[in-house]
Amino acid sequence: VAPFLHLHHTHLLLASALVMTLVTAVAALVSLQWQAAAEQHNRLRIKLFQAWETAIPPFMFGTTSQVPPEILDLPAEAEALLRLFLQQVRSGVQGLEGQRIKTLYHAAGLDRGLAQRLTDPSPKIRALAAIEVGKFHVLDRYPQLVPMLKDPVPYVAHAAATSLCHGRQLPYASQVVLWVLTQPHFEQDSLLPLLERFGPELLYMLSRTLRNPNTHPREWRIYALLAMSHRHAKAFPTLRALLKVPDLELKAACLKALATMGDEDTYPDLVRYARNRDFRLRIQAAKYLGQLGGERAVPILRELMEDRVFELRRQACLSLAELGEPGLAVLEGLVLDPNSDHFARDLAVERLQWLEWRRRS
């Protein structure tokens, strides 16, 4: 049996080596073919982009009203590249030139098949199509973007939201706001610039449609931050009323908005919050007292410099420095007083040194 087994193993080894060689060879061939195709595509892209970069400027800059023939009757592959090219140019220019790029997009019939691309199984194609709707303002495709806000692939939903915001599609704004609220908390603030695109009209709409702030404070937090972005002074009464809602983050957002917009009537609230039991509110109050308080805020900020929470002392120190002369005098006093709280003194020294360094540099 032994010689037979030996022979069998040798055959097995030979067979597996042969299979491995074959697999490697096929993989190498496929890879080569793929590389060649990619290179060919790249060459075509460079060639076409260079041609369009020469052909499009006269129309784009208004020296001719004739659509360049180079962009008409293109094969499918070139059509996809032209779509990419025009998107790139559209991202770089606005105004009349941007409008002319949109004209070229429609003249070349690039919106053909857009409805299908928006529902393509490939998320990349769906996302690109969603961006296309916003970039070229394809009006009749905006409604199709709304269900895409629930797309399981995050970047597709993001692309749909971006296009709805860029197109200032107010009828769908509340859906976009709801989408923003589904995002992780830390990402919501970074999505605010997107919502700002809707303009201050969004605030009027939100004030009518948002739910009860006591049960849905996160929705009103977005309202407060947007009111701040738009410097929307008409929102002052609403923001002051929202300060009464117990939710901490909503309170912080309202304080931020009111202080940043310079609402003097918020000062008593800031003083009240500076003595709140919750240290997070005390920190927020200390921060905005530095912006809004002026000289009258000096005593309370001095008091906060000796708070039991270190972060609050630090914030009070920063705010005193921000107040200018009267605040700096307090910090200098702390440095010179040997009986002052040593943590407060260290913070004052650090801040004054930093200010001195900044003044010199």
């Binding site: 400027p57 140019v89 559209r90 991202s91 770089g92 220019v93 009349l96 941007g98």
Partner: protein, 118 residues
């Protein structure tokens, strides 16, 4: 014109050539600095974020060149520009900052206003 986005660079070149200007393009800051050192350049339009040398560093480098090249007007264009970045680049000596998407007529107006000075 200094920008790694070749499409925008070429389009800007085409627009500026319509004004009768001779335009040189560079895809990064180092290439731009070499051009500035070796050729008579009257105005620089540079992207803020680009490989090798940023728009800020390029501005600082140009301002550190011996006269008269240290006075070449610089226009910065930027995609995502924070107020701090804008302040830094203006403090470094750039004339102004334009944000993408560009308003071409305003940019052209700024170029024509700055050129006679150069």
């Amino acid at each position: 014109v200094v920008d790694d986005d070749q499409t925008i660079t070429r389009l800007l070149k085409a627009r500026l050539e319509l004004l009768g200007l001779s335009v040189q393009v560079a895809s990064h800051g180092l290439e731009a600095l070499n051009l500035i050192r070796s050729q008579p350049i009257c105005l620089i339009i540079s992207d803020l974020m680009k490989p090798a040398i940023s728009g800020l560093r390029l501005t600082q480098a140009v301002r550190a060149l011996p006269p008269p090249k240290d006075g070449i007007p610089i226009i910065i264009i930027s995609t995502h520009q924070s107020p701090r970045e804008k302040q830094a680049v203006l403090a470094a000596g750039a004339e102004c900052v334009f944000t993408k998407p560009l308003a071409i007529p305003q940019l052209v107006e700024k170029v024509t206003r700055l050129l006679p000075r150069a």
